[in-house]
């Protein structure tokens, strides 16, 4: 079994696995990091979103063979205590219902705001359009992202 070194959340993890194994399953089943969720397996729902070199990507679409030399951050590495502005804004706006999609949403929004600290509501909508929330929390999510952006500007 080939071995890989995964650069994740500021640490290095040796992983022996099929090079085709998507990062999602390596995180969940090999490293025990279950914060990243499985939703569709084909990159169309956003539940498995992580950061690759600071950009939001779908971990179900990244084979381990493509992970070499990249720095990944999963929800477990976004903040140690839930203090990321997006996490705080999400709690403040009481966004989550079943909550299953929210980690992916938070990861997308966190990467987005780093590149676009002052987005319009329309830009937020466009950025989040690859994600699905079956509970329909979009309205509060939009507010939370704009709130996080506004808090970020104050900070």
């Amino acid at each position: 079994m080939p071995s890989f070194t995964l650069h994740l959340n500021g640490k290095r993890f040796p992983v022996d696995a099929d090079p085709e194994m998507p990062l999602l399953w390596a995180l969940r089943d090999l490293l025990g990091l279950t914060g990243t969720k499985y939703g569709c397996g084909m990159g169309v729902c956003g539940a498995c979103t992580v950061h690759e070199d600071g950009v939001a990507v779908r971990s179900c679409q990244i084979p381990l063979s493509a992970s070499a030399g990249k720095e990944y951050v999963s929800i477990e590495g976004l903040s140690s205590d839930g203090s990321h502005p997006c996490q705080k804004a999400w709690v403040e706006e009481d966004v989550s219902q079943c909550g299953y999609c929210q980690v992916g949403m938070v990861m997308q929004a966190a990467a987005f705001l780093r590149h676009k600290p002052n987005p319009s509501a329309e830009e937020v909508d466009a950025e989040m359009s690859d994600h699905i929330c079956r509970c329909g929390t979009y309205q509060r999510m939009r507010k939370a992202i704009l709130r996080a952006a506004s808090e970020g500007r104050k900070a």
Binding site: P22, A26, G39, V91, V124, A126, M128, S129, G136
Partner: protein, 738 residues
């Protein structure tokens, strides 16, 4: 310690009838006297001043881990900071207490019991303090986790009183707080688990990890009701990480399980597996054909089961000056919760442990025990968070699958349904056809309404028994078409019936169950009648709800004045009386829909929609919603459920459907089963009409009015009436010029 063993047993006995008090307490503690105060199954207060509350419903986004503690804390007068909660599990302590989570009933079904449980504990704590102080209990009061003696300024925490409280007599009828004294109920409260969720720490079924656990996915016969003929495990077993390949005979879609060290190997193993299927009797089934069959059957001159027969509809239709009729169609729908079905089972020789995201833990427990031939006490079911329920998880079919595999391989196993499994198998919302005939009298006065429903909508409940058929009041409980049966409008002649026409598609409750179909037809057709009568659709409805009395239908009492009020509020907030702007590129319109959910929840919605003049693309800009569901426990939660239900309804209105061809579901993932995403999500405004009535359930209530409100708005904008869901731009081709 003042508590004697005798008084302690008295506490137990008083609650022994209904609740499972102390049954789980170890004998040693029973002999020594209590170390904690547990006046009932829901509450435990320990001397270290921790208040532990049990949540007796599954959390699937409706907020029960917040709302249920709110009701307990209100009466208990506990302080949020001292409260811990945990999930109640079936059996043992909660034997005989309902944990099933369905029918928008989490608040309705617990409101009285939890308040009484809290009040009981509070009175016993006050009594314990009064005894310690040698004071009159009426001079003491409970306040934020303490009992206070105002006259002397003395104060004791619940922790300090716990052991003595356990020795107090149990009040038979503890005094419940007056509504005006509520400090928790009615106050907007944020989710107790909001932070855990966004840190990725919340544990759903899919996140359960048990030592030695293997991972499984199943190859399932693509055809509904098909079976495994034979399989060759060789190629699958050659995939690195695959451990076992075993047939599975339990569940809704049986087949072969590939069991591996991790999910990916199981998925790869399934791809490699060679299977032959016995496609069974449904290999020719097509949902298009089934729709044609329903259309044909519904037009036949025969009566179905009458669920309502007021006046003489047949005669009134003959006498009507104007007669209208229309047929509405609703496709099969998937639940498609974002967390697919899954279960972890650890079946051993004489016990079994289950971890499942389930709305029906009692069923999961009973079925597992029966299947393994174990006493129920030997089965433990852990309820995880649910990544969406929506009715799908009222079926425990994925539990026996996992139990069977674990039992076969002798190891704990997690079964995961991949997204295509979840989309193509399960229990779908039935496809239905509704036929409505209406008659107007002189001056366009609405006289008669005739609604017939056809479809497999009854397969989840079964048809009424012969005995119950004699008493139409009981039909409601047998699953007759809600929304048609409990039509709230005051037609002098009203007839409603249903014809059961089953298909091979397994069906089950989907958010709001039968209302989405019947209410789409009812509220659309009312709009058609209003236009035929030359009346404003709001005024037409208000007139039909006069004199605002209480309608008794079956076992339901429907207060029409409450429906009138929410219609008025929604219309006012949506500027119904003021014309909507038109633009050069889009046609704009407003539409109205309303409903009474299960007699206790009243809702009206106004949708503001525009349709592109060129592409016929549909945009729903805004939905204004007014609701009266009596006492609101958590206004934050209620608004969230309005937003959620409306978005759910909108997905089905504009996108959702499952087609079946050659006996198999066509749609496989979110590419071909589209749902509303953020750019399409409308602005949703929720206005609550607060009343003194007991709480009504709101988890599903917001779904049914969405489709008719949008369809009526599209009609207002374009003059085109769409009578089948989903409403796609293709259905708006060849628009009339307006």
């Amino acid at each position: 310690m003042k508590t004697s063993r005798r008084s302690f047993i008295k506490v137990s006995a008083a609650f022994g009838g209904g609740l499972a008090l102390w049954l789980e307490m170890p004998r040693t503690i029973l002999a020594a006297g209590p170390t904690a105060f547990e006046p009932n199954a829901y509450i435990r207060i320990t001397p270290d001043n921790v208040v532990q509350l049990w949540i007796t419903r599954s959390e699937m986004g409706q907020g029960v881990r917040t709302t249920l503690p709110m009701m307990l804390i209100e009466e208990l007068e506990a302080d949020w900071s001292q409260v811990q909660y945990q999930q109640a599990l079936p059996g043992g302590r909660f034997k005989g207490i309902r944990l099933r989570t369905s029918g928008s009933g989490s608040t309705v079904g617990t409101y009285n019991a939890l308040r009484k449980a809290g009040a009981t504990a509070r009175e016993m704590l006050v009594a314990a303090a009064a005894q310690r102080w040698n004071a009159d209990p009426s001079s003491c009061r409970a306040e934020r986790g303490t009992v206070v003696h105002a006259a002397t300024g003395r104060k004791l925490s619940y922790g300090e009183l716990a052991v003595e409280a356990a020795g107090q007599p149990v009040p038979a009828n503890p005094a419940l707080k007056d509504r005006k004294d509520f400090r928790v109920i009615g106050k907007p409260t944020k989710r107790t688990d909001g932070a855990a969720i966004v840190k990725g720490e919340a544990i759903y079924g899919i996140d359960v990890r048990v030592p030695g656990m293997l991972y499984a996915v199943l190859a399932r016969c693509p055809v509904l009701g098909g079976k495994l003929a034979k399989f060759d495990a060789g190629a699958a077993l050659a995939v690195p990480g695959v451990r076992r390949v075993v047939p599975v005979s339990r569940g809704i879609a049986t087949g072969v399980a590939v069991v591996a060290d991790h999910t990916w190997a199981a998925i790869k193993g399934r791809e490699a597996l060679k299977v032959e299927w016995d496609r069974g009797p449904n290999a020719d089934f097509s949902s298009d054909q089934f729709l044609l069959q329903m259309r044909e059957e519904i037009g036949k001159e025969k009566d179905g089961y009458f669920v309502r027969d007021d006046g003489d509809a047949t005669k009134a239709l003959q006498a009507a000056t104007q007669k209208l009729e229309a047929t509405y169609e609703f496709p099969f729908q998937a639940h498609a919760p974002l967390e697919t079905m899954n279960c972890v089972a650890d079946a051993r020789k004489d016990s079994c442990e289950i971890w499942a995201p389930t709305q029906c833990p009692e069923v999961a427990l009973a079925e597992t025990a029966k299947m393994l031939g174990l006493p129920e006490e030997s089965v433990k079911v852990h309820i995880t968070l649910l990544g969406g329920g929506f009715g799908r998880r009222l079926f425990a079919d994925y539990v026996p699958e996992a139990v069977e595999i674990s039992s076969t391989i002798g190891k704990p196993v997690q079964v995961l349904w991949t997204r295509d499994d979840d989309m193509r198998y399960g229990f779908f919302h039935p496809s239905d056809v509704e036929h409505v005939v209406g008659g107007l009298g002189e001056q366009g006065h609405p006289m008669v309404w005739r609604q017939r429903s056809i479809g497999s909508n009854l397969s989840m409940f079964g048809l009424p028994s012969d005995e119950r058929k004699k008493d139409p009041r009981l039909y409601f409980n047998d699953g007759s078409p809600w929304g048609s049966f409990d039509n709230p409008y005051n037609f002098p002649h009203l007839k409603a019936d249903f014809i059961a026409l089953n298909s091979p598609v397994p069906t089950g409750p989907w958010r709001a169950v039968e209302y989405p179909v019947t209410v789409f037809a009812r509220e659309s057709f009312l709009d058609e009648m209003a236009h035929a009568a030359g009346e404003d659709p709001l005024d037409f409805r208000l007139k039909l709800l006069q004199p605002g009395d209480v309608l008794q239908v079956g076992t339901s009492m429907i207060d029409r004045s409450r429906l009138i009020r929410v219609l008025e509020v929604a219309a006012e907030k949506a500027d119904w009386r003021r014309p909507l702007r038109q633009t050069s590129d889009r046609r704009w319109g407003r539409g109205l829909g309303c409903n009474v959910y299960s007699e206790d929840c009243f809702i009206a919605q106004v949708a503001e929609v525009s349709v592109g003049r060129q592409a016929n693309d549909i945009r729903v800009h805004r939905i204004v919603c007014a609701v009266d569901c009596g006492v609101v426990v958590n206004p934050n939660g209620l608004e969230g459920q309005a937003e959620s239900g409306i978005t759910w309804g909108l997905s089905a209105t504009l996108h959702g459907k499952i087609d079946f061809r050659n006996g198999a579901a066509v749609q496989e993932n979110f590419l071909d089963f589209e749902v509303i995403r953020m750019p399409e999500a409308p602005e949703i405004e929720t206005h609550v009409v607060l009343t003194e009535h007991a709480p009504g359930g709101f988890g599903e209530t917001a779904v049914p009015p969405v489709a008719p409100a949008v369809a009526n708005a599209i009609f207002a904008a374009t003059g085109k009436r769409v009578r089948s869901l989903p409403i796609t731009p293709e259905k708006l081709r060849h628009l009339p010029q307006v």
